[in-house]
């Protein structure tokens, strides 16, 4: 990010902290689109995604004074958005099947994820969308948005072990689906 851009962003944030409505509207205009994309990743329903986006901006505004100008502001906003998106699942009471007992840290590396490199993003999104709700959100939060299991567990109100097992299952399911489809494609080609 350019220095002048950073200054502009900082001054915008300071104005928002002062309570200037026009500054916050500018902040909204600059960031609402990519944040909406994040929301849509977690919630297929546009209505739910809009709710999450709305709640995210409210939380951003209320917590602006706690933002330290050292880090990446967009990253800070992304984290709040993901938190809100996950928190909505919590309010919707998605069932998480606890596989804590079956899951061990060593299992995480057993899966062959090299298959994921062979497919494009559109295909990947398609497969992720096929995942069950619980697996999908943990996968997105961990693999895409970079949250730690501890954070995911706190937001969703589940144990860390459940979060890990959901991620494991998500990966396993994804790879199986990709493999299955790959075989089908190869058989067609032959």
């Amino acid at each position: 990010m350019e220095l002048s851009e950073q200054n502009t962003e900082s001054s915008l944030i300071r104005k928002c902290i002062k309570g200037e409505r026009s500054a916050f509207q500018e902040l909204y205009n600059q960031n609402s689109r990519w944040m909406y994309a994040v929301c849509l990743r977690y919630h297929k329903s546009q209505e739910d995604a809009e709710d999450v986006l709305q709640e995210s901006f409210i939380q951003i505004y209320k917590n602006l004074s706690s933002f330290k100008f050292e880090g990446n502001f967009k990253g800070w906003m992304r984290r709040i958005t993901v938190n809100c998106a996950l928190a909505k699942f919590r309010t919707n009471k998605i069932d998480f099947v606890s596989l804590e007992e079956q899951f061990s840290e060593s299992n995480e590396n057993v899966l062959d994820t090299s298959l994921m490199d062979d497919i494009n993003a559109e295909e990947l999104i398609y497969y992720i969308d096929q995942l069950s709700q619980g697996r999908k959100q943990v996968f997105l939060a961990y693999a895409v948005d970079g949250l730690k299991h501890k954070e995911i567990a706190e937001i969703l109100g589940i144990s860390e072990g459940t979060s890990k097992s959901q991620l494991f299952d998500a990966r396993k399911e994804l790879i199986e689906e990709i493999k299955k489809n790959k075989v089908n494609i190869e058989s067609i080609l032959i």
Partner: protein, 442 residues
């Protein structure tokens, strides 16, 4: 696949695919985070509502029909006048070509005797016609205005009069009003709408305010204006009602968290009706205020700058009388003690006013014949009147939206006053005023 790669691929893909963010999202965020907009809207609509109420009230006041309240006065006046007419008709019988004033008439309207004979004739004809039909009786109030009479009687000789020669005026449109001087009006009873300093939060702020008030003043008087005509009896219960409306503006500067100073101005109108005035009279009045207030109370020093009355004429009446009186010296002081609870403020107020009135009266008469109109004028000194007025009142107000720059303060005030003066027109009055002010804090 690394996380960053996956994230980047997702981001690029979603940036291409996502629809625009619906406007309703921002609207909801805005509504949630910036409710001020909505509340300012509330203040705005309240202001509109108050404005409508006040306009309606003003319209009702100015269209007040006094016929019902003045019917008794008309009947009695007619009886008296008919007696006078009998006496007068005997005189007219002796000299039918020249009408002479009756004793009563000359007392009613002595100024006419000091002017030209043309005016005298017109005046007497007017009195005669007053007896003959009720419509003109209602238009004959000018000759019975106790205030006008009082001013004239206080000028014992012609030495105070400066006559102005007749001036020819080509057909000017007739003004439908007559300006008369009155020596007193208890409009000072109206409490100020300047905002009250309520808390330390309000301190160090400069506040501009504008407001409007309207209400009713009922006055009981013990003055006897004309014993011969028993005018005081004609008044029946000695009661006069004033309908009041005042426009106010002002500013308050809070020096610190306890003390503030302010300047205010009231410009008002009033309409008067009573059993002894057959037509409503309209008054214009202006006064300035110097306000010093603390969190607990307020000290007002008020100066009434002008006080004039406007009386609508019968369109057939070509008499035009104007008078300007200035209250030259006045020391009114009103002290308010505030009692606050949440947004409510109750104020008790006590005031004392010592005044000396003197000034000049300008009487103009417009005379009309078939071809020309002529204006004659007389300049007259007023006899000084000393008055003392005591005031005791209460004021209730409720503050809306004090957390924003705009705030709205509707109020109700009920002052009671006692007026003593050297011209024996002592009176006691009570007022009920409703008003609202909108202020902006800087």
């Amino acid at each position: 696949m690394k996380k960053d790669d996956l994230n980047g691929r997702f981001q690029n893909l979603y940036d291409k695919q996502i629809p625009d963010v619906p406007n309703r999202v921002w609207e909801k965020v805005d509504e949630e985070l910036f409710p001020k907009k909505k509340r300012n809207g509330m203040v705005f609509w309240l202001s509109i509502f108050t404005g409508l109420v006040i306009l309606t009230g003003t319209w009702l006041l100015l269209n007040d029909d006094t016929k019902s309240t003045s019917s008794l006065a008309i009947i009695k006046f007619e009886k008296k006048s008919k007696n006078n007419q009998n006496k007068q008709s005997k005189t007219e019988h002796n000299n039918p070509s020249k009408t002479k004033p009756s004793a009563v008439t000359s007392k009613i309207n002595p100024i006419e005797n000091k002017t030209s004979s043309t005016n005298k004739n017109k005046s007497y004809l007017s009195v005669n016609s007053m007896v003959e039909n009720k419509e003109t009786v209602e238009g004959g109030y000018i000759q019975n205005d106790p205030f006008v009479k009082n001013i004239h009687e206080n000028n014992p000789e012609d030495e105070n009069l400066a006559s102005i020669e007749l001036i020819s005026i080509p057909n000017l449109p007739l003004l439908p009003i007559t300006l008369l001087n009155t020596q007193r009006l208890n409009l000072v009873n109206l409490s100020t709408l300047l905002p009250t300093t309520r808390s330390k939060e309000d301190a160090s702020k400069f506040t501009l305010t504008a407001g409007i008030a309207f209400g009713k003043n009922i006055r009981y008087t013990n003055s006897i204006i004309d014993p011969e005509l028993s005018v005081s009896k004609l008044r029946g219960d000695n009661r006069m009602a004033l309908n009041l409306i005042q426009f106010k503006c002002g500013m308050i500067y809070n020096i610190n968290d306890k003390y503030s100073v302010g300047l205010g101005a009231n410009y008002g109108f009033a309409s008067r009706k009573s059993p002894w005035y057959t037509r409503p009279t309209y008054f214009a009045q202006g006064q300035q205020e110097l306000v010093f207030q603390t969190l607990e109370g307020r000290y007002n020093i008020t100066d009434a700058a002008f006080l004039n009355s406007l009386v609508p004429n019968d369109t057939n009446n070509i008499n035009l009388k104007n008078s300007v009186s200035i209250k030259m010296f006045s020391i009114p002081l009103t002290v308010y003690r505030h009692f606050k609870r949440n947004n409510w403020t109750t104020s008790l107020n006590a005031g004392l006013s010592a005044d000396i009135h003197f000034g000049k009266d300008f009487h103009f008469e417009l005379e009309q014949n078939n071809t020309t109109r002529q204006l004659s004028g007389i300049l007259e000194n007023q006899t000084p009147i000393v008055s003392l007025q005591g005031l005791l009142g209460s004021r209730f107000s409720y503050l809306l939206s004090n957390s924003f720059n705009f705030y709205f303060e509707p109020q109700l005030s009920i002052p009671i006053s006692c007026y003593l003066s050297t011209n024996n027109q002592n009176s006691y009055s009570a007022s009920l005023t409703i008003g609202a002010g909108i202020s902006y804090k800087f």
